[in-house]
Each structure stands twice: as structure tokens, then as C-alpha cells.
Subunit: 313 residues, 2 copies
């Protein structure tokens, strides 16, 4: 059954049934707008668009996978401000021949991922479109925390990372070469495991800057370096490369550190902390902030290419 | 100059320069997420997607026009809850050959329309896409008001309308027949004039239900009738049909009441009020709420077609 067979209102009815409203939702789908709690009196908000063929492929990921990924990418932005996600709003632009079941799975994936952090899909919109596009907006509450922006890193600060890194990029490479395993890597691409609570914890223990690693660690640390006018040096030995990633890299002729340092889609969190910080175990030290021109180096040497680990070794 | 020539970051830099941040914006574009004031401790949020060829045409509307319309459609949803708009977030999916100037105009239009109500475009995202899609999320603050939902209308209530109606639908018909005048109607389609403050005022004087008229007055009143389990009767003589609309209708062989009663894109606000309400002049009475099956009639008779004024006369 396709969307064109049941129409917009039929589709909305089915999709809304896949959504579970949590306590942050005061008024859910069905009115002109939703109403969401904002106890802090400041709201954190971020939007991401996902375009088929560019951000996801239906032959690589199920509707539920795409829902999880779309939600995760947005919720990670909220976590990276040191806030607790409260709500998602979703705009779905879909070709009329899209299977209704796919849209239902998408809604289920979005709702399930939001539910992991106590957030809900509170509203949305739908339209026919030649291109399948999913636009997600995430809202969050600061819970009294100062928002952790990109511009607060200071020379002497510790650089730390929470969450997995390189897994999703490895999974993407595996899929793009036509393989479906190793499952660890492929699943990491399909459904990133975002360390949501590490964002809130970082704000509480005094993170000076934080960023969601969506474009690759070095590039995203570069945003902190630029905004804070500092230099950042990363220590390559700080990263564990699991055996499955090492084996896949070897089989595909790729340097695994290219995935780790330049791959983005895990939505890990990277942050800077004062040097005397007592880091919880899920934040691991990966480098230091120094004075100097705003650049990011690895073991003291510049990184010169997108996947060019060889270039700076 | 096209988007592909300057890239995503070049485009973001140019577009952000077109945005003006007002006092509701605590942290604007450039970080993982924006931060917006929410003094009421409840946030009202709504998303609309606009797809080229479906919601707008570049040969009918300038980039600035589309920006105004996209913002207005979303801000009207916030006003229809009885809230004050605070922020917009915008996802832009654009073909690489889109002119940069068009995107800049779009941003300028979005920002200018938001500025009319003291809101700001606080964040967004961009991606390449074969189809031009604009996804807008609007946020608003209830300022201590109870949210005005669709389900609160009661038999005996007065039905009232704020804002113009039929103008945008008439402008759309004029444009779709290849004309560019009358300017009054064409401009009403390009840049709707939404009675934003009437929404907040309605909440304060006790509106029992309210809706943004986006799909046509009778259809949108039908949402109130269904949600409130009441019948609504509209009085045709309550509507002024301006001479330019009457003349255009006559020239095009259309019944102007089809535009007024079934045309949506003006984003007027329709609401119900207790019978003893003292309505301000910009809310005009157009009908009554009665007991009965949830339907909307005109002068006591059913409306049977989308543009079928003749069918129920």
C-alpha cells in the first residue's frame, strides 16, 4: 500500500499511532502546534535535514533505521549544548509511491530513539515531493545549566571524547563496497549509539566547549578551535581501534584512523574541560588545548586530507 | 553565482548575514543548536514543509516572497494557539544550481516576516537535493495564556474571523491562469498578511477554540467541529467580497465565495468565543456554534464540494 492510496490524512492517522507521548509533551499531534515543557525557561533548538541518496539509502537502511538515525543526529545536537532533549518535530516530504509501511517504520524509529532520552515526537507535517526528505527539529531543556558553546575552550584545557568513533564511517564504507557485514560496523551506521547523558554530565562538571561529532572528529574539533581561538592537539594512541574495524580496514585497504579521525556519523560528543577536571569513565582524554593559531593537529603534526591519515603521519 | 560554486559553508555564511537576531534569541546560528527564551516555561512548536511546484513556484514568487510565505504559514500556527512567536528554524534542501541570490532573498524574507512579530531565524540546516524544499519550524511562548486548542468550542459560542480571506486563493487562481494582476490578490498570495496579534488577543479574551485557516475556512472550521463535537453554521453575508475580487471572479468565471469559504492561503485565524464576549473590531462575527453532528454549514445548508458554492446554495 502506497501513500497515494490513503492520502495525507490517512497517512497522518497511521503514523501518529506509532508515536508515544512522554511526560515532556503537554499537547501532541492534532492541533495547530504542539506544547512542550520548558522548565528552564530557555529552549535549545536545532534542525537537520536528511535527503534520500545523500544522507540515507532505502536499500541500506530500513525505515526504522532511518528514523533512529534522523532522531539521533538531532538529539545529539541538543546533548552537545549540555541540554536534555524534550521533543522532536518531523517534516516528511515523500514521493506518492512510498510504501505506507516504510513511513510507519520511520515514525516508530523516530519515536523509539526519542523515547531513549525521555523525549517525544510531538508534531510534524507531510507533503508529496519527488525527493524523499526528512526534516527533523529537536528541542531541549537546559535544566539550569549554562549552554556549552563552541567558543569557551581555553589553553591548558583537556580534550575528551564520549561515545564511539569511526564505527559509522567504517559501516558506511562497508555498505558502499557492497558488503553487509561486519554487523557491528553496519549497525553503527544504521543506528548510531549517541552518548546523550554524557552531554548533560559534561555541562554539570564544567565543560568549557562541546560539539557533536557529525562531520569527523578533526573537522568538528576545528570548529571549537576556530570559535575559541585556540589550537588543539589530539593523541592518536588515545583511540582504541576494535579488531573488527582493523580487519575490515585491512580487507578494504583503508587506514582505520581515517575512519576514527575523519568519519562523522557516530555522533560522539567531543568537549574541552579545565585541566583539573575529574572526568567520569565515559569521557576519555584524547588531547589538549594549547595557545596558537586555530588548528587541529594529531601528535603535533597537521592533518592535510579528508581521509589522509598518511599525509600527516 | 550558484550554490555549488560557493559550497555549503559559503552559503551558510552569506545567508546568516541576512538574518537579524531579536531579543528572544539568546544564541543564534553557528553552534550545535540555538538557545531561545521561553519565559512561560511551556513552548509552542509547529513544523511546515514547502515543496517547490507544490507550495510555491519560482516563476510566481521571488525568494523574498517565498520566505515571507514560509514564515507566515508557520508563525500563524503559533498565533492560532494563542502564543507569541519567538523563533524560526529553517531547513533548506536545494539543487546545486540554485542561485545564491535566491537563497539570500529567501533568508531575508524569512527574517523580515519573523521580525514583524519580534521573532528571529535562530538556526537551520542545508543540504543539496534534487527538489527544492523548505522546512520551517516555529516556536512560541504562551505568555501565561492557556493554549487555545481545537476541542474547546461549545454550543452557543460565537464564531469569529480575524484577517483577510479568499484573497490568496483568488491570487493563486489569477496566477495559475497566467495573469499577474490584480496586484491586491496576487500580492496576497505571495505574502499573506497574517493577523498575528489577534491570536494572542483571542486567548486573553477567552477564545474557546482557534485554528489557522490554511486549508480553507469550512475545512478548518470542520477541524474545530470534529474536535469539539459540535456543529458550526457560517453566515455568508458576514463576508465582504471586495470589488477587485468580485471583478476577477467574474472575468475568470469563478464564484468568489468559493475563494472565501474554501480558499486557504491567507492564514486568517478563526476562533470561537463565549456568546457574551466583547470582540475587538479585528475579530468579526461570522457564525455560531450549535449542538449536533460535527459538520459545518453555510446559512444552514451543507457544503458539498471543494469549490462548490453552487452545490449548497
Amino acid at each position: 500500500m502506497t501513500i497515494s492510496q490513503i492520502g495525507e490524512f490517512g497517512l497522518i492517522q497511521r503514523v501518529v499511532q506509532k508515536l508515544e507521548m512522554g511526560p515532556t509533551c503537554l499537547l501532541g499531534p492534532g492541533d495547530d502546534a504542539a506544547v512542550v515543557v520548558a522548565p528552564d525557561s530557555r529552549i535549545v533548538a536545532s534542525t537537520d535535514v536528511l535527503v534520500e541518496g545523500r544522507h540515507f539509502r532505502r536499500d541500506w537502511s530500513s525505515g526504522a533505521d532511518v528514523g533512529h538515525r534522523a532522531a539521533a543526529a538531532n538529539l545529539a545536537d541538543i546533548a552537545a549544548m549540555g541540554a536534555a532533549p524534550t521533543a522532536l518535530l518531523v517534516g516528511l516530504c515523500a514521493p506518492p509511491d512510498l510504501e505506507v509501511a516504510w513511513a510507519e517504520e520511520l515514525a516508530g524509529g523516530l519515536s523509539a530513539e526519542a523515547g531513549r532520552v525521555g523525549a517525544s515526537v510531538v508534531g510534524g507535517d507531510m507533503s508529496a515531493s519527488p525527493t524523499l526528505v526528512i526534516a527533523v527539529t529537536a528541542l531541549g531543556d537546559l535544566r539550569g545549566n549554562r549552554p556549552v558553546v563552541r567558543s569557551g575552550a581555553r589553553p591548558g584545557d583537556v580534550v575528551a571524547l564520549a561515545g564511539r568513533i569511526g564505527y559509522a564511517a567504517a559501516g558506511y564504507t562497508v555498505l558502499s563496497r557492497g558488503f553487509r557485514t561486519p554487523k557491528l560496523l553496519v549497525e553503527a551506521f544504521r543506528r548510531p549509539e549517541v552518548p546523550y547523558s554524557a552531554g548533560l554530565a559534561a555541562a554539570r562538571i564544567g565543560a568549557t566547549a562541546m560539539v557533536d561529532v557529525s562531520d569527523g572528529l578533526l573537522q568538528d574539533l576545528g570548529h571549537i578551535a576556530a570559535a575559541s581561538a585556540v589550537a588543539i592537539d589530539v593523541t592518536a594512541s588515545a583511540f582504541d581501534v576494535p579488531s573488527q574495524m582493523r580487519d575490515a580496514a585491512s580487507a578494504l585497504g583503508v587506514d582505520p584512523y581515517a575512519w576514527v579521525l575523519a568519519g562523522g556519523d557516530d555522533h560522539a560528543l567531543a568537549a574541552t574541560f579545565p585541566p583539573d577536571v575529574d572526568l567520569p569513565s565515559y569521557w576519555r582524554r584524547i588531547g589538549t588545548v594549547t595557545e596558537g593559531a586555530p588548528e587541529v593537529t594529531v601528535d603535533g603534526k597537521p592533518f592535510t586530507g579528508r581521509t589522509g591519515w598518511d599525509h600527516f603521519r
